[in-house]
Every structure is written in structure tokens, then in C-alpha cells.
């Protein structure tokens, strides 16, 4: 038990997420208890509107939790300053960046901001990390391109490289596969798997690509109307969790192939 605890990098205790309004709290999900291990690829799945983004936004401190605890390396997220958090956790969001007028290299270099001095000078070490991130994500050939010249798939890789350059133990990605074709969806998720294996980072992403996630993830978090379940994909299949994901009138989960079938 103690040995396992050492490996837990992110943990929630009785976490409730949602939106605070003046009159009442709009609860999106409650009683969330998840434990994420170091060096694992974790997929977060669930139907539209179930609260995947809300959960991720709460975990990365973009929005406050309603109650409960979030612990990163056993430290309460509410007690962690943003400057400190920037060295522990990096993000890739669905929102478009404001300016696409930066070169790929400049954009990836922004990932070094938590470590550079007040004017943002890059040290030799920073430059090495930036180049390594570009290599890991396989976009060294793009580094002098402007971001507006890139395709959606390339841009997603650049944003992942930027998160890599931030050199944090955890990377959180909100739906990194939207707007991508089938090949690039698989490519991005495979890339995330490779990054966890080669760098030992913990990567948490939300996605609608349940079938790909089942094949690639070490752990999956499934959000249903009643519960948030965190387990290995094969256990989730044998427990029949995926069948409870969607209403059963249209699609059905096939346990033997690990994929969804349209009901005839």
C-alpha cells in the first residue's frame, strides 16, 4: 500500500465539481475519487455534457472545485501557487491561441517561461530542452514555420511539444483529437503513449475516441451519470462499464471486440 502511494502523482478525495453561482452551486459531478499513477497514459471518456471538461478544468486550476480535495504530489492544489504549478503541470486546451503569428520554435519556447528570467532569455539548457521536445514530437522540420501555416494535426503536435518543453511531470490535454482525421487521431494518441513510455510523464487526456483509448491507455476514467470510475481498460470492459456510457437505443458496446456497434 505504501509503495503504491509513492507512485500516485494526482489524487482526488470526495471531489465535487461544477459552477458556483450567487444563488446555488450547479453540481456537475460529485464524489470523485481517482488516483493517477506516475508514468501512465490516462484517458478520460464520457458522453457529451457529462462534465469531462469541467473535471479537467478543475484539475488544472482553471476553475475552482465546489468541495473536496485535489492533491498533486500529496500537496493540496489550492495551496499551490500558479508559479509552482507551472513547473508540475502543463496543459493543451481546445481553445485556439490568440495569435498564430509566432513561429513554431517561438511557440514551443514559450513553454520554458516558468524557468526563464524576467525578460525571457533562453539558457543553453532551455534551448536543448526545446530542441528535444521538437524531436520527440517529430516536428523539428517545422520549427521555422509560422503557426498559421500549419494544419490542425500539425498544430496539435506543436501544442504538445510546447507542453513537453514546459518539462512538467503531468500533462493534461482536453480533447486533443477533435478536428483530426482518423489517421491523425490514432497518431496523436499513439504519440502520447510513446511520450509516457520514453519520458515517464503522466499524461491525462479527455477524448471521444473510446475505442482507441481502450487500446492505448494504461488507465481510463469513465464518467457516467451516476459515477466516476477509474480502472484499467480490460477491467472496465469485463465489468461492463462501457455499456452504461450511452443510452442503449442506438449503439451497443461489443465486449469481445472492444468497440461500439450500431443497433440494427
Amino acid at each position: 500500500m505504501t509503495k503504491k502511494n509513492l507512485n500516485i502523482i494526482l489524487k482526488t478525495e470526495n471531489l465535487s465539481i461544477g459552477y458556483k453561482t450567487k444563488r446555488e452551486d450547479l453540481m456537475v459531478a460529485s464524489n470523485i475519487n481517482i488516483e493517477l499513477e506516475k508514468g501512465k497514459l490516462i484517458g478520460l471518456v464520457g458522453a457529451n455534457g457529462i462534465g469531462k471538461s469541467t473535471l479537467l478544468r478543475t484539475l488544472i486550476k482553471v476553475q475552482p472545485s465546489l468541495s473536496g480535495l485535489i492533491l498533486i504530489n500529496n500537496k493540496d492544489l489550492n495551496q499551490t501557487r500558479v508559479q509552482e504549478l507551472a513547473k508540475q503541470l502543463s496543459i493543451v486546451l481546445t481553445e485556439q491561441m490568440t495569435s498564430k503569428n509566432l513561429s513554431v520554435y517561438e511557440l514551443v519556447a514559450l513553454g520554458r517561461h516558468p524557468y526563464t528570467n524576467w525578460v525571457g532569455n533562453l539558457s543553453q539548457n532551455d534551448i536543448e530542452i526545446i530542441n528535444k521536445s521538437l524531436e520527440l514530437v517529430n516536428i523539428s522540420n517545422l520549427k521555422d514555420k509560422k503557426c498559421f501555416e500549419l494544419s490542425d494535426g500539425q498544430l496539435q503536435k506543436v501544442m504538445i511539444a510546447r507542453a513537453m518543453a514546459q518539462d512538467t511531470e503531468i500533462i493534461v490535454l482536453d480533447e486533443p483529437t477533435t478536428h483530426l482525421d482518423m489517421y491523425h487521431k490514432a497518431y496523436i494518441l499513439k504519440l502520447l503513449q510513446k511520450l509516457t513510455k520514453e519520458t515517464g510523464k503522466t499524461i491525462l487526456f479527455s477524448s471521444h475516441e473510446i475505442e482507441l483509448a481502450i487500446q492505448l491507455c494504461d488507465t481510463m476514467i469513465v464518467m457516467t451519470n451516476n459515477d466516476v470510475i477509474c480502472n484499467q481498460p480490460c477491467n472496465l470492459i469485463s465489468e461492463g462499464i462501457f455499456e452504461t456510457l450511452f443510452p442503449k437505443d442506438l449503439i451497443k458496446f461489443d465486449n469481445s471486440t472492444g468497440s461500439f456497434r450500431v443497433s440494427k
Binding site: L85, P114, V119, D144
Partner: protein
């Protein structure tokens, strides 16, 4: 970064052009002074005493004012465009110039209310400078107070515009009750003017400008993070509220001082960042900020030289010239490149 070398050439050219514009600006005026004599005059070794006085007490302060005004407005515009993620933002979106206008309008147009001798005493140059500073400072305080309550950056933009509308309305009401002479005086202030600053006024101007510039340079790194959007910036360890405050303070210091001393000079603040982005083709503030500084100074010197109408006694309102010269250039650049850089 990796293509620093090409930018070095850009900067060298800009510096040389700035120096040339500076000298030519001093040469031109109601009487033209040859370039050689101007250089002697700058070192104070000119034999022609009239020319020496013209250069030292009139043209040199005016050229320096032009440099401070052009570069300052350009930088404030750049800060506002990045902070508000809006290419239409300029140095005055926070209502700084409308605040200054209100202050000046109360002094000039409302002076009838104070009556008699007191009124003429009020309308001195310093009182206008003080009224303009007070006006913009009060509007700024209001915007800052509101912005500390509001989490959304866009809301601050709208609030700034609303403050502008309110002050504009008050100015309208005041002008409705004013005499023709008072109105004329107010309109003349609105034309903007780079001349008539004494060395004392100029040194105060310079001090405040440097303070604002220091804050702007201090924000370069944060401005670059903000290019990714608020959430990314926060994930990079940026304290949003604090950096927003520093950026707004820098802008108000620079733009407020400029409006107080030179009037509400339009257009430069909006256009210079766009022109610079088109030429330098980057959004990286480490390059943009110094480039905007140099470029703004050059454009203002050129505009001022044109406004002087060389070899005549007429001086056109600088505010008209900046837009007359600048707007076609921006249109031409955008049409030619077919793509706006932001």
C-alpha cells in the same frame, strides 16, 4: 532566437532612418537651416545666433517631443492590442484620452462658470496639462477599480469604451453652453501639438515616459505568454491580475502623459503596431516592442515635418496629418499583403 540576425539588420536600418528623420525634422520649418549647420547647432557651436536659438529652444524640444509621442503611443497601442486580443484596440481604449478631454473641457468650456479674472487665470498652459492629467488619471482609477472586480479581460475593454461615451456626453453638454471662442480654444487643444514644450516640461514628460516604458519592458515576457490566451498564460505561471495591472498602468502612464502634454493624438497608437507587424512579420514582443518604439518615433517625426509645411509660416494640426499620411499607408499594406498579421 534563431533568426535574430535578420532582425539585427532591420533594427540597424530603422536606427539610421530615425537619425536621418530627426536631423531633417530640425532642418525644416518656417526657415530651412542647412544640415551642416543643424549638426553644429546641436553641439552648440553655431555662429548664427538666431539659428542657434531656433534650434535649441524650438526645434530640438519639438523633435524630442515627436519621438516621445510617436514611440509612446505606438507602445501603448501594442500593449492594449495584446492585452485585449483585439486588433482594433489603441492606447485610448481605456478612456484615457476621453478623461483628459473631459478635464480640459471643464477648464476651457466650464471656465465661464468660475467667471471673470479667475477664468483667464485658469486657462494657462500648466492648468491644461494638470486638468488633462487629472482627468485621465481619474478615468484610469475607475477602470482599474472595475477591472480588479471583473475576471474577463474583454469586459474591461467594454467598460473603457463606456467611460469614453460618458465623458464625451459630458463634453457635448458643456460645449452646448459655451461661447464660440471657448469652443475654438477647446478644438485647438484637440488638434494636438508637439511644439511649445519648454525644457522643464520636457524633462517631466521624459521622466514619466521612462517610468511607463520600464513597466512595458518588464511586461514583455508576460505579453508573449498572453499571446496564447489567458488560460495558457496562467498555466505558464503568470499571475493574470498582476500582469494585467502592470500593463494597464504602463499604458496609462505613457498615453496619459502624452495626452496631457501634446493633446489627444489619434491614429498613431492604432496603426504603428500593425505597420510594424506587417514589416517584421512576428508577434514576439521582444522584437516588436523595440521595433514599435523606433517606428513610432520615425512616423511621428515625418508627420511633424509635413505638418510644418516647409518654408511657410503655416502649421497644420498634427492630428490631421497623422491620419492623412498614416491611413493610406495602412490600407496599402493590408491590401498588398492580403493578410493581416496579428
Amino acid at each position: 532566437m534563431n533568426n535574430n540576425k535578420t532582425y539585427r539588420i532591420h533594427f540597424l536600418i530603422l536606427l539610421i532612418v530615425l537619425l536621418l528623420c530627426f536631423l531633417v525634422n530640425i532642418c525644416l520649418g518656417s526657415i530651412s537651416i542647412p544640415l551642416g549647420n543643424v549638426i553644429e547647432g546641436l553641439f552648440g557651436t553655431l555662429e548664427n545666433e538666431t539659428w542657434q536659438i531656433i534650434i535649441k529652444d524650438f526645434r530640438l524640444p519639438k523633435a524630442i517631443t515627436a519621438i516621445l509621442v510617436g514611440s509612446g503611443l505606438g507602445i501603448s497601442g501594442l500593449l492594449m492590442q495584446t492585452l485585449f486580443r483585439n486588433p482594433l484596440a489603441g492606447p485610448f481604449v481605456l478612456g484615457i484620452s476621453s478623461g483628459a478631454s473631459l478635464g480640459v473641457a471643464i477648464i476651457i468650456l466650464g471656465s465661464g462658470l468660475f467667471g471673470g479674472v479667475f477664468a483667464t487665470y485658469l486657462i494657462s498652459k500648466w492648468s491644461i496639462v494638470i486638468a488633462a492629467s487629472l482627468g485621465s488619471f481619474l478615468v484610469l482609477l475607475a477602470v482599474l477599480a472595475v477591472s480588479s472586480k471583473v475576471r474577463d479581460t474583454m469586459a474591461i475593454l467594454i467598460i473603457g469604451l463606456m467611460f469614453g461615451s460618458i465623458t464625451a456626453a459630458v463634453v457635448s453638454v458643456l460645449s452646448y453652453f459655451s461661447t464660440a471662442e471657448q469652443l475654438q480654444q477647446y478644438i485647438f487643444w484637440g488638434f494636438g501639438s508637439l511644439s511649445n514644450l519648454s525644457w522643464n516640461e520636457l524633462s517631466l514628460f521624459f521622466g514619466l515616459y521612462i517610468l511607463g516604458l520600464f513597466l512595458a519592458v518588464f511586461s514583455i515576457k508576460n505579453l508573449n505568454s498572453l499571446l496564447l490566451g489567458d488560460n495558457y498564460a496562467k498555466s505558464l505561471g503568470l499571475s493574470l491580475k498582476r500582469s494585467r495591472l502592470v500593463i494597464i498602468l504602463a499604458t496609462s502612464l505613457i498615453a496619459g502623459t502624452i495626452t496631457a502634454f501634446a493633446g489627444p493624438i489619434a491614429f498613431i497608437g492604432l496603426a504603428i503596431p500593425h505597420l510594424t507587424r506587417q514589416i517584421f512579420r512576428t508577434s514576439n514582443h521582444r522584437i516588436l516592442l523595440p521595433a514599435v518604439l523606433l517606428f513610432g518615433a520615425i512616423v511621428m517625426l515625418v508627420c511633424d515635418s509635413i505638418a510644418q509645411l516647409p518654408s511657410s509660416d503655416y502649421v497644420l494640426p498634427i492630428n490631421a496629418i497623422t491620419a492623412l499620411v498614416g491611413a493610406p499607408v495602412v490600407i496599402w499594406l493590408l491590401v498588398r499583403q492580403r493578410k493581416m498579421m496579428f
